[in-house]
Subunit: 216 residues, 2 copies
């Protein structure tokens, strides 16, 4: 499998997309990256919707054209048989539990707050949602903080897919208005993730996004 | 594993909880069910939060006290090695993709609309969210309808975990104000799921909930 041609369609500064790039780099896999300008409608074109009717990035495409969507499903498929996905069924189930936690209880608050602050105009009505998003996102970060009282990682005994998924938007939570200093174990864990072999940081956001974030 | 004592903490008329019961019944597993009155705060007690800091149902508890949370992670763990989870890695990844789709693009709209109509007072400010929830939930149902143009099931060649997860709130989408007649393939698929061996329906909601749903 490791020599198969793989293409990732993604928006580089999306945490969901960066997850996939980070794992591919850490696995040492060859891949092609096709940049998709999702904030400006590039996932809503007829061509894109023909491949992914749900109109989201990332999307993995194999050499024969078959596609796989949903960032965390892509992580699991890529990590199969590697140290990044536990072989033990119970540990794998715990990693999966964190992957679902990330998509249901974390990303809709931590990532969406960042999106609203960085990608919507200063007068967007969506900004009224920010206090609720901060409150719910802090609940998710508190659940992570509590887990880290007893464990170093979210995937099992070692770093893996659940750490990659949770890192994606936690490391840039300040963009959404979160104070990570309230969560010291989360902050230390972020440093541990950044020190794993083959780690690559998420690229910087574009200047206009950086400016909106700075002024939010 | 199949003789191990298993307890499910769940609220019977929650789709997320019914998923777990449905699979356990279809697997023919013995289990104990502990009813948790989650709409009235039973997942927010200190005892419950000690087991699941995220304060949600369902929660699976093993004989030795270890717990597993997140409905779709529980489905995967229970289904491991059975016909309900594909053995082929690519098919399993596709099933996982639908499980993440269900939790991110379907449940937050289809299930939440049902919750608001059935479990909040008629003057709840949350009812103002309903038009947006209906719009987004219909997008999810349209993605399902499109998949069913080319396939009978969501899990792979056969019925399995992704069908169970998507069935959970789709079959009662009318409670949320959705018109399933707009999605004929989804409707036919619901009938196919209901005809699978060992299928059990979700219990009826309490009278007060039924009355609010009828008057919404």
């Amino acid at each position: 499998m490791s020599t198969e041609s793989i293409t990732v369609h993604g928006y580089s500064v999306s945490g969901n997309c960066h997850k996939v790039r980070l794992l591919l780099e850490q696995l040492g896999r060859d891949y092609r990256w096709v940049e998709v300008d999702s904030p400006n409608g590039a996932t809503r074109t007829p061509d894109y919707l023909a491949k992914n009717p749900n109109g989201k990035v990332p999307m993995l495409e194999r050499g024969d054209g078959r596609v796989l969507t949903e960032s965390n499903a892509i992580l699991c498929w890529l990590a199969e048989g590697s140290a990044y996905l536990p072989a033990d069924a119970w540990q794998r189930a715990q990693a999966l539990s964190w992957l679902f936690f990330e998509q249901y209880s974390h990303e809709p608050y931590v990532a969406v707050a960042r999106f609203i602050r960085g990608w919507t105009p200063p007068d967007s009505p969506r900004r009224a949602d920010l206090p609720r998003l901060i409150e719910r996102g802090e609940q998710a970060l508190a659940v992570m903080e509590r887990h880290l009282q007893q464990a170093d990682w979210f995937t099992g005994d070692d770093y893996g897919v659940a750490d990659i998924a949770l890192f994606a938007y936690t490391h840039c939570a300040a963009d959404g208005g979160f104070e990570l200093s309230k969560f010291p174990r989360v902050s230390t864990w972020l440093s541990r993730v950044s020190a794993t072999p083959g780690f690559i940081p998420m690229p910087a956001v574009a200047d206009d996004v950086a400016e909106r974030l700075a002024n939010s």
